[in-house]
């Protein structure tokens, strides 16, 4: 398993590094940057939904909050780029600590509702607290940073900047999933009672997972701020949270590559397909209904299963053994 996913990893990294070279057009490079940002956000939500079994409908909170703090600090409060981003990261992680404390009072759908409500409260504050947030007009006027003298205003430079964070996030989350703590989180999802009897503080494990997800959400939010150089309450609204959840589940909750594929799907539908199909929102809805119906485990495990089925037939004909365990089947449906 490791050898093959290792090959995939190398292929992915090489492909990602080559994107600007292959594409050329700055518009599509910018689009690819957006995919990376949303992929980080979706991967972070996947920590909760896929690995923690905690379905959150308020993940836009971290994206928007981090973006607001970053832009507010660097434009209005006079902080430097680096310190502004750092404070945004710390503050958003702190917010996740608080939200996790509140949301983990419940589980399953109760958890979903609390995260939704907390997200709505942040949205309401952003809309209403005009002196700080600019209300619906949002905050703008931010410049992209110049780390080491590189102008991130250039689409390619920004793409590689985002790519660095994406790869670190991917690696961090990939390591996390395999680590003892990642296993603790998954165990807490599958058998919380057993985990307690084995000496795990399930609440604390889930809370740490929640905060960790918030941390990566903050990274996505800071990149969002750099990319858009603008933030308004839309970044915090229910639609953004719902879309992020769709990315995770459509791609495959509890898999490493699923959220990335989901992010590609949603970003491309919203920004590219919408130019050709007027009823793209309907298409988006239909795509999700179809995925849930025919590939309920998500696109990545679904296609893997289908290809394996096809390969397995061949292999069985050749007298091979049973296929390897994917370990993703248990990921489904732990919220009840």
């Amino acid at each position: 398993m490791t050898a093959r996913s290792g090959v995939w990893l190398v292929v992915m990294v090489v492909a990602l590094v080559l994107v600007p070279v292959l594409i050329g057009s700055p518009f599509y490079v910018n689009l690819a940057s957006q995919v990376l940002i949303y992929a980080i956000l979706a991967m972070s939500l996947n920590l909760l939904v896929g690995f923690g079994g905690l379905t959150s409908l308020g993940h836009a909170a971290y994206l928007g909050f981090a973006a607001y703090v970053t832009i507010y600090l660097t434009t209005l409060a006079g902080f430097g780029q680096f310190s502004g981003a750092l404070i945004a990261l710390v503050a958003t992680t702190g917010l996740a600590m608080l939200f996790g404390f509140l949301a983990l009072r419940a589980s399953g759908l109760g958890f979903l509702m609390i995260t939704l409500a907390l997200g709505q409260i942040l949205w309401g504050l952003a809309f209403r607290w005009v002196s700080l947030t600019g209300g619906d007009n949002g905050l703008g006027g931010m410049q992209r940073p110049h780390p080491f003298g590189i102008d991130l205003g250039d689409p390619n430079a920004f793409y590689y900047f985002a790519l660095c964070f994406f790869l670190v996030a991917f690696a961090g989350i990939a390591l996390f999933v395999r680590s003892p703590f990642g296993h603790s989180l998954r165990g807490s999802r599958d058998q919380p009672r057993r985990m307690r009897a084995l000496g795990y503080n399930v609440w604390f494990v889930q809370w740490c997972g929640f905060v960790y997800a918030g941390f990566w959400g903050a990274i996505a939010g800071i990149l969002y701020a750099y990319y858009n150089q603008f933030v308004s309450p839309h970044a915090l609204n229910l639609m953004t949270s719902a879309e992020t959840l769709l990315m995770v589940i459509a791609g495959g909750a509890g898999t490493l590559f699923g959220p990335i594929v989901g992010a590609v799907l949603v970003v491309v539908l919203k920004n590219v397909v919408s130019a050709y199909i007027a009823r793209w929102v309907m298409l988006l809805g239909a795509v999700f209904v179809m995925i849930v119906l025919f590939m309920p485990e998500g696109l990545v495990p679904g296609t893997t299963r289908w290809t394996k089925l096809a390969l397995g037939r061949r292999r069985r004909a050749a007298g091979g053994g049973p296929g390897e365990a994917t370990g993703t089947a248990a990921v489904q449906e732990r919220s009840s």
Binding site: L175, F181, A197, N201
Partner: protein, 247 residues
């Protein structure tokens, strides 16, 4: 008198006004083999859940090794040396047997909060897990998924996971239920091989095995303790018969 491993005093638990456990007093000495008997619904498993910390008592107190743990969380008690098996099997069905035991080992290790290194790299855990599996005769299935094993094998895995924690107090909830005669013999031998440094409290319906195993016996009915004493006392007590025949 030697120190008590478990000291339950006046313990009660109500579910929606209905008492599931009433005023239970239970004292288990270090190294003792203690048996809980009683018909279904007598409150034995609820008592286990109270001792392990899964639920909070309505009244009374629990002391473990001299420390009051009434308000402690389950995982804190586990770190004090309590381990248990479950009546209804709660294993990680899609993971291998080894992984199940490894989870049991990491639960007591500081590394359970390590988010960076791969668990697979920690070969020490895997080796230790295989050793533990060997003690219950499951080493040949170490890399099989739990969902692909038999019921009896899972019961033994339950015990292995509890044993891996090297507990001081072991709570066994019907370890023999649903096993074939051969398997019973195996598990029985396994239990007998547990050193006396481990205190054991067991719920069991199989009288022959249980009585042979136990030092002291508590009989429960409708949430309360009816009879308590050593093997002979309990067997002789007319209330014991009443509990079993009257039900």
């Amino acid at each position: 008198m030697s120190e008590l491993a478990l000291d339950v005093d006046g313990l009660g638990k109500n579910f929606g006004g209905l008492p599931a456990v009433r005023d239970v007093v239970l004292k288990v000495e270090l190294g003792e083999r203690h048996l809980l008997l009683g018909p279904n619904g007598a409150g034995k498993t609820t008592l286990f859940n109270l001792i392990a910390g899964d639920i909070r008592p309505s009244t009374g107190s629990i002391r473990l090794f001299g420390r009051d743990v009434t308000r402690m969380r389950t995982d804190q008690r586990t770190h004090m040396g309590v381990a248990r098996t479950y009546q209804i099997i709660t294993l990680f069905a899609e993971s291998t047997l080894t992984h199940n035991v490894v989870m049991s080992l990491t639960g007591l290790s500081r590394c359970r909060f390590d988010p960076f290194t791969s668990l697979d790299r920690r070969t020490g855990f895997r080796e230790r897990a295989r050793e533990v599996l060997a003690t219950v005769g499951l080493e040949h299935l170490a890399d099989r998924k739990v969902s692909e094993t038999s019921y009896g094998e899972r019961r033994r895995l339950e015990i292995a996971m509890a044993m891996a924690q090297e507990p001081s107090l072991l709570l066994l909830d019907e370890p023999l239920a649903g096993l074939s005669a051969d398997e019973r013999g195996e598990v029985q031998r396994l239990l007998e091989s547990i050193p006396r440094s481990v205190t054991i409290v067991m719920i069991e319906h199989d009288m022959d095995v249980a009585l042979a195993f136990a030092d002291r016996i508590t009989v429960m009915q409708r949430g309360a303790v009816v009879v308590e004493g050593n093997r002979a006392e309990v067997v002789a007590d007319p209330k014991t018969k009443e509990v079993y025949l009257g039900h």
